[in-house]
């Protein structure tokens, strides 16, 4: 028995109402070790416990190369023979960085703990011997029987035992799991339904002692394999019997379930993937720069060490005062020691605190995005959200914007506007509608933007069987759930088109009343009719159609099919009568930017149905690739259709879309629209939203193919004739239009892809029509591959998730189609038009601020550390530090960090209004003008220059005095701090009170702490007492010289 279970893959044993059994193998954990089998139902998304916080957090932090490097430096400093500066001078900044970082981690972890706590404290009812008792979620154990009420969130993965609905059906909303807002039904096994339901559910459940054998916990949301052993029988269980944690019970009063997977074993928690961290280009370049600095540092240290070796060999032997100190070591050994000494000494040139500042500023920028009132949308109460906190500066660099159409450019609030039935087009697109008198229809809820009395008349008179059939099809062929409120049906649909169609049918008298698993109930012009639902051939993005097979009250079998026009049209009976007018109607609708769906019907002979249902059930039980098998079977059914009509649904543009696109285009962004719609619809939307100007020429189909096929291996240098002739057109105004199948060819040929992207760069815009979600991602991938610019993808639905994840930056719109796009996005917006502000204002500012910050940081640390090199020529390459050790440790953390931080927060090179008025400003980010290797090299050279000035001018001046080392050190320190402050002052263009305060504070901090550190009181261990009159005048004269040099 056990063996066979293993073979069937069911090893997870759950005994109902047997807490004791499961208690014995509860999962426990101590530190990092876990044992036991069954997790409890406590969510622990937090990472740290009080005990593990310190080691875990430190471990994580030291995975950063910079932190590790500095740890090594601290360790090196503990070796007395090479310690050039005392250990605390590196230790302090390192501690500071670790502390700040640790605090941040702790804060986020506490936040997680709090939200965990909230979830864990939610109430639920579990069955105890005394009846149902309300407990908290965290007390649920495997094997408990739970009672879930309507609209409650299900606390664990439950096996549905029975519910108050007939046949123990129950409906769940899975929005939190897969983002689909439609209701899905789950049904209990008929055996549990019949045995457990009844008047004494409680007693029945309390005596229920079935044993469930299931799979080990896994994250696959759409599959479950298991069996229930009860009363000596074995029942097969699948995912339809499972209520997943996180789903919401709808339309069902009460459901009873047996907890199978709890807590971390549950499917949704098993599914919580880790977020992939995206690195920005700026950050990558920064890392490279740091690496270059590191290499430079090591080379310099080696050179200086060689210098030290030579010094020891040539000079020291005659110089007994020093040579005695080296204690018979060879020059080579001394050089080796000096090498490490210099590594320590030059280590401050690594911008360690930069990473932490970087992070803080990123976080601040994200908060600012969320705080922006102008990106808040009242209608659905959602402000902008920055979900990834590392991508801000890339917002200022976007070169390609790839946008979904439906729901992104448009509102996705669909309205049934026109239809085509039996050769006639009903409805028009005029703006003012005189509302139809629908008072005869007691189910009417209003909201229909359709006015054609002819159709209503025809329907009421029942003079047109086609029209009746058409609306019957609309009322039957869908997956909508109805809910009754105030005597009116309200519909919950997976997709807005379905809802629009079912609503339209309702308004016109074909009211969908309710559904069960096996029946559909309609009210046709007040006449209630029951249809038996035989099969539902559901919609997939691949099939792009759905059908229902019903037995109408008259006993006839009918297949109603609804789908995208090309798919349906190719499945029609040959030589249908209305082919031509249909195509004309389709074209007409497309020109009006309407979405079209074809509706068709087929009468199915009884014999075919019996045969077909047999094959269907065979597939259902067979293993292997069910999906493709099902598809084939569905295909067999959906053929020889008769066209009933075409629906045309309007999807309005969102507010401000044309303006936004026009502004973005002025900003130099290439806007690509990727849509599943027909080419004509897409092109029309393109014109409507100013993606293309009215006089834009379209390059599509053959022409495009020619362009791509033309032999131009090097797109840029040698352009053959075809290329050149078309370039005139391209240069003036052109847009590329490409459809899904062509795109598929394109992606197969890598060379074409490159050409396509190169070509598109010269065009106004690109429209990709008829693309699948996977293709959307491929397009993004292609753009990423063949162009150097940053890509941003924006979308709102589950079909955009691929694209959002692939692009450098993904933006999700919180729209009608669930929250899946938002959950996978880096930024979430409520409206497409907010993109303008996000990119042009926040993006530009972030880019500007961060670039200035990075440059300044590199400048300040390298200029600071390079002084040591110049000094080493005067002290026999002995790694004598130029600064006091306290200064080294406080320099980056206290004296120079605040003003630049303030600048990172508040700096605005141009105001937000100017950013929006002159979008051309945005191109500095696209061209990476503020942070590229050249700029970096200049920054580094500038810092070398600064360090030379910083060292040689004070030295030149002070050499005439009875100069001691400490005076020189104080002088140079003061100059360094003043220079860096002046540098910030010169860069700041936006002086807020905080900036002024920061500058004043750091200068005051510097002078006070220097005085304090040099005071007699602190003089105990090391020589600090030297702040002498002689130092001050000189210290002040040099920075003044410096100030002017900065200005020049």
């Amino acid at each position: 028995m056990a063996n066979s279970k293993k073979e069937r893959g069911v090893k997870w044993e759950v005994r109902a109402n047997d807490r004791y059994f499961h208690q014995s193998c509860r999962r426990k954990s101590f530190l990092c070790f876990r044992w036991g089998r069954y997790a409890d139902n406590v969510v622990r998304s937090y990472k740290y416990t009080p005990l593990t916080f310190l080691p875990l957090n430190l471990y994580e932090q030291f995975q950063r190369a910079a932190n590790l490097f500095f740890l090594l430096i601290v360790i090196l400093q503990c070796v007395p023979i090479i310690a050039t500066i005392p250990w605390y001078s590196t230790m302090l900044p390192l501690l500071f960085v670790l502390l700040v970082r640790g605090c941040k981690d702790l804060a986020t972890d506490l936040g997680r703990r709090r939200s965990d706590g909230q979830i864990n404290r939610r109430p639920c009812d579990i069955l105890t011997p005394e009846g149902f008792k309300t407990v908290k979620w965290k007390d649920v154990r495997v094997g408990d029987i739970l009672q879930v009420h309507k609209d409650q969130v299900i606390p664990a993965d439950l096996l549905l035992l029975c519910s108050t609905e007939p046949h123990s059906l129950c409906y769940v909303e899975t929005a939190d799991i897969d983002g689909e807002t439609n209701l899905k039904f789950r049904q209990a096994l008929s055996v549990t339904h019949t045995e457990l339901n009844g008047d004494s559910v409680k007693q029945n459940l309390a005596t229920f002692n079935g044993i469930v054998w299931g799979e080990e916990p896994n994250g696959n949301l759409h599959s479950f394999k298991g069996e229930l052993h009860w009363k000596g029988e074995r029942h097969h269980l699948d995912t339809d019997h499972l209520l997943l944690r996180g789903t919401v019970l709808r339309n069902t009063d009460k459901a009873y379930g047996l907890a199978i997977y709890t807590g971390s074993d549950s499917k949704i928690l098993q599914n919580c993937g880790k977020l992939k961290l995206k690195n920005t280009q700026v950050e990558i370049l920064l890392n490279k720069t740091v690496l270059v600095i590191l290499l430079f540092m090591i080379t310099t240290a080696i050179l200086l060490a060689v210098g030290a070796g030579l010094f020891e060999q040539r000079v020291s032997p005659q110089y007994d005062v020093v040579s005695v100190l080296q204690r018979d070591s060879s020059p080579a050994y001394l050089g080796f020691l000096t090498f490490w000494g210099y590594i320590i000494l030059l280590s401050p040139s690594m911008p360690m605190s930069l990473y932490i500042t970087f992070e803080v500023i990123h976080m601040m920028h994200c908060l600012l995005i969320g705080w922006d009132v102008e990106m808040y949308w009242e209608d659905n109460n959602s402000p902008a959200q920055a979900r990834t906190t590392t991508l801000n500066e890339e917002l200022g660099q976007v070169g390609h914007l790839l946008s979904d159409k439906t729901g992104t450019l448009t509102q996705n609030r669909l309205l049934f506007r026109q239809c085509f039935i039996a050769g006639h087009i009903y409805g028009d697109m005029s703006k003012e509608l005189k509302p139809l008198d629908l008072s005869w229809n007691r189910f009417s809820c209003g909201g229909l933007k359709f006015s054609d009395q002819r159709l209503v008349d025809k329907l009421r008179e029942r003079s047109s069987p086609e029209c009746q059939e058409f609306f019957t099809a609309l009322a039957l062929c869908h997956t909508v759930m109805s809910e009754w409120r105030d005597g009116l049906p309200h519909y919950q649909a997976a997709s807005p088109d379905e809802e629009a169609l079912v609503c339209a049918a309702r308004e016109l008298g074909w009211v969908f009343l309710s559904r069960t698993r096996e029946t559909l109930t309609l009210s046709e012009m007040g006449l209630t009719r029951n249809y038996q639902l035989l099969a539902l051939l559901d919609f997939t993005s691949k099939r792009r159609r759905m059908s229902v097979l019903v037995r109408d009250p008259g006993g006839q079998l009918k297949l109603y099919c609804k789908g995208a026009d090309i798919v349906v049209l190719e499945r029609l009976q040959r030589d249908g009568p209305l082919q031509e007018s249909t195509e004309r109607a389709l074209e007409l609708f497309a020109q009006g930017c309407l979405r079209t769906l074809c509706v068709a019907v087929r009468s199915v002979p009884e014999a075919l149905w019996t045969e077909w249902s047999r094959t269907l059930s065979q597939v259902g039980t067979s293993t292997g690739d069910q999906e493709t098998a099902l598809e084939e079977i569905y295909d067999q059914m959906e053929k020889d259709l008769t066209l009933l009509g075409v629906t045309a649904i309007e999807d309005r543009l969102q507010e401000g879309v044309p303006e936004t696109i026009a502004t973005l285009r002025r900003a130099g962004l290439k806007v690509w629209v990727l849509t599943g719609d027909k080419t004509e619809t897409a092109v029309n939307v393109g014109y409507a939203c100013k993606l293309m100007d009215p006089d834009t020429t379209l390059i599509q189909g053959e022409e495009l193919r020619q362009l791509l096929e033309s032999p131009s291996p090097e797109v840029k240098s040698k352009e053959p004739e075809v290329w050149i002739t078309s370039r005139k057109a391209v240069k003036s105004k052109a847009a590329l239009v490409i459809s899904g199948p062509e795109l598929a060819e394109l992606t197969r040929e890598p060379e074409w892809g490159a050409k396509f992207v190169a070509l598109s760069d010269q065009c106004q815009s690109v429209l990709c029509c008829r693309v699948t979600p996977a293709q959307k991602a491929e397009v993004v991938e292609m753009v990423r591959k063949y162009s150097t610019s940053i890509t941003m993808a924006i979308g709102d639905g589950a079909n955009d998730v691929n694209m959002i994840k692939t692009a450098h930056i993904g933006v999700g719109l919180c729209g009608v189609e669930g929250s899946q796009a938002v959950q996978n996005a880096d930024f979430a917006l409520a409206q497409f038009s907010f993109l303008r502000r996000l990119l042009l204002v926040h993006g530009h500012w972030s880019y500007y601020r961060i670039c200035i910050l990075l440059r300044y940081f590199l400048y300040k640390t390298t200029a600071f550390a390079l002084v040591h090199i110049w000094y080493s020529f005067y002290n026999g390459f002995s790694a004598q530090p130029m600064y006091e050790s306290w200064f080294i440790s406080l320099y980056t953390t206290l004296y120079t960090s605040l003003p630049i931080q303030c600048m990172g927060f508040f700096e605005q090179d141009v105001s937000d209004k100017s950013c929006l008025c002159w979008p051309e400003i945005y191109s500095i980010g696209q061209k990476k003008q503020l942070f590229n290797p050249l700029v970096l090299a200049i920054t580094l050279l500038y810092s070398v220059y600064t360090s030379i000035i910083l060292f040689f001018i004070p030295m030149g001046i002070l050499q005439y005095f009875a100069l001691d080392y400490q005076t020189l050190a104080v002088t140079i320190q003061t100059s360094v701090v003043l220079t860096m402050t002046v540098e910030v002052i010169l860069h700041t263009k936006f002086w807020t009170k905080y900036s002024v305060a920061a500058v004043v504070f750091s200068l005051v901090a510097f002078f006070l702490s220097t005085l304090a550190l040099h005071s007699a009181r602190l003089f105990t261990a090391s020589p600090k007492d030297y702040f002498f009159l002689g130092a001050s005048p000189n210290a002040y004269s040099t920075p003044e010289i410096w100030l002017t040099i900065c200005v020049t």
Binding site: D151, V153, P166, G246, R485, C814, D912, M955, I957, Y965
Partner: protein
């Protein structure tokens, strides 16, 4: 039918998920504050020709006079320098420099004479200067024990390890320990004015006030508190190996003896560069009528103890008056003048450019 009536019970439920839309009644509208909307009042200086050019000129006009002033002041300072290393055969100190090492006992004396062609009017500072002496070498700089010098009894008996190999001698702790102290400059310099009649007058050299007051009062202190008997205090210690006398015999006066001897303090304040000068004595102006050092012949009597030949070092004596800006320092004035002129020059160039091409820029200035 199966139309279940809507009942409003337990409207728990929807606050899960990060994007809990819909059910949240609390408005999530951001606060409209200046800080959150990035509309803080701010001063935005715009760099235009109107602000930058005057800045250049002002800086130039401030710096050039300062530079000239500094340069003139520096030129008014009298400074006289004489090298007495004795590398030349002709030098009077040649003999001394040749046959001398650290551990010779008999002092070698030599006399140099020189002529001052200008009288030194105010107080005169007398420096000794050493060249090619790496007093800033790291191992050298570290080789001292500050707590010992601060009068700590324990460190006196147990000097810091940093002092090795000048930590102990013959099992006694060295006071003061370390290489810096060990290599203390120990030439004695005496200055005589040769009257036109031929007789010599010794010029009084003030040996107090040459060290920083903080050093003298705080940093350096003799062990044993106020115990005047330094011999007893330093009883169990050894003198540094190169020294001729123990530390408690550096001077006869009690407040200038031991660790608080000012010559010693000056030496212990290590120099920044391998060529340096250190204050040796101060010649006080005694009355207003006569200059401190009148024009005439002088002779410098050197007790030559300090060997520098091994590392090709040089020894100098410098006599200098000082002004408000310190000693003679042409560099400072020149630096100020250079920077000032560069600014001024750039200002002129920019003004020229602005004047010539300004019309084009003006329009954009107005626009922005």
């Amino acid at each position: 039918m199966m139309a279940s009536s809507y009942s409003a019970k337990e409207e728990d439920g929807h606050h899960s998920g990060p994007a809990g839309l819909g059910a949240a009644t609390r408005t999530r509208k951001p606060d409209n504050t200046a800080f959150k909307q990035q509309r803080l009042p701010a001063w935005q200086p715009i760099l235009t020709a109107g602000t930058v050019l005057p800045a250049f000129f002002i800086i130039g006009l401030i710096f050039i006079p300062i530079g000239i002033g500094l340069y003139v002041t520096s030129n008014n300072i009298n400074e006289f320098e004489i090298d007495y290393t004795g590398t030349d055969m002709s030098s009077p100190c040649f003999n001394c420099s040749q046959n001398f090492s650290w551990n010779s006992t008999t002092p070698c004396k030599c006399v140099l004479s020189f002529y001052l062609d200008q009288p030194f009017e105010s107080n005169v500072f007398m420096y000794y200067g050493l060249s090619n002496f790496y007093q800033n070498h790291r191992r050298y700089v570290k080789s001292r024990d500050d707590s010992q010098l601060n009068g700590d009894e324990r460190s006196l008996k147990e000097p810091s390890k940093e002092c090795e190999p000048y930590r102990t001698n013959e099992n006694k702790p060295i006071a003061p320990c370390g290489a810096i102290a060990n290599s203390m400059f120990n030439d004695t310099l005496d200055l005589f004015y040769i009257n036109p009649s031929g007789s010599k007058t010794q010029i009084p050299l003030n040996k107090k006030g040459i060290a920083w007051s903080t050093d003298k009062r705080v940093k350096f202190r003799n062990p044993g508190g106020s115990n005047p008997n330094l011999t007893a205090v330093f009883k169990d210690t050894a003198k540094p190996v190169n020294w001729h006398k123990p530390v408690y015999e550096l001077d006869s006066e009690a407040d200038n003896n031991g660790f608080i001897n000012e010559d010693f303090i000056v030496w212990m304040r290590t120099a920044a560069l391998p060529t340096f000068r250190k204050l040796y004595r101060i010649i006080q102006k005694n009355n207003n009528m006569t200059p401190t050092l009148p024009r005439g012949n002088y002779s410098l009597e050197v007790t030559y103890n300090y060997p520098v030949r091994s590392f090709e070092g040089r020894k100098r004596v410098i006599l200098s008056t000082i002004s408000w800006m310190g000693g003679k320092n042409p560099f400072l004035g020149i630096a100020y003048m250079t920077v000032g002129s560069i600014c001024f020059f750039l200002g002129v160039v920019l003004l020229f450019i602005h004047h010539k091409y300004g019309n084009r820029n003006n329009s954009s200035d107005i626009a922005s």
